[in-house]
Symmetry: C2
Subunit: 103 residues, 2 copies
DNA sequence: TCTCAACATGTCGAAACTGATATAATACCG
DNA sequence: CGGTATTATATCAGTTTCGACATGTTGAGA
């Protein structure tokens, strides 16, 4: 998976949109991108449901507000590990995470 | 999640066993460890089903045999990202990955 | 036994990811 | 309007994870 390609994804708007078959991504790469985006959406959604600010989630994570913002923005510098740990920090179970990924 | 703690997990046998409530891990940390171990098992299982050697999977991944061995050994130096990309390289879908995680 | 393919383990420099910091938008309320 | 809380974006040095390499172990077949 190419870094530059991933970055181009960021550039465009594609807020709401479904996915990224709009670039020449292999099905594999597309699935990987989707997985990360779905988790980032799930984090934002869960955090809001929990009535937490980004600062508060950052505290639970031992991280910073700016990183939480990046997590939720689908920033390419955010790993699946961090996305997953964010879900767990919000009280999500393995099943919850699996559900968010399978969507 | 403490690095040293994760390393101690490696030390003990606990091959087959269910999980890691045998150390003082928070439910969160335990879930994170479980996720990684479940995926590493899924990778090995899928690779064998596909009749591939570690070298062949490494080629698909653009990686090396030694890293694939670590992936399947649940080595702490292996990220969820790499585990996930391994599953995808083996043809797994998002749902397949979710299934492996929810187990 | 010897050979060979498959797998395991340790190490290292390079690349990716991280928290922190600074600073800029945005939004709500007085 | 100013003030305050929340979120967004950029940058950077420290850490983690990476592929690669070297080397060791295992198991099956001759």
């Amino acid at each position: 998976m190419d870094r530059a390609k991933w970055n181009r994804l960021q550039g465009k708007g594609w807020k709401e949109g479904t996915v990224a078959e709009f670039l020449d991504l292999s099905p594999e790469d597309a699935a990987y991108v989707e997985l990360k985006l779905q988790l980032s959406e799930a984090v934002r959604s869960l955090r809001r449901q929990s009535k937490l600010t980004q600062v508060q989630l950052a505290e639970r994570l031992g991280s910073s507000q700016s990183r939480v913002a990046k997590i939720e923005a689908g920033d390419p510098s955010v790993s699946l590990d961090l996305l997953t740990r964010s879900m767990l920090a919000l009280g999500a179970s393995k099943k919850d995470i699996a559900r968010a990924m399978a969507r």
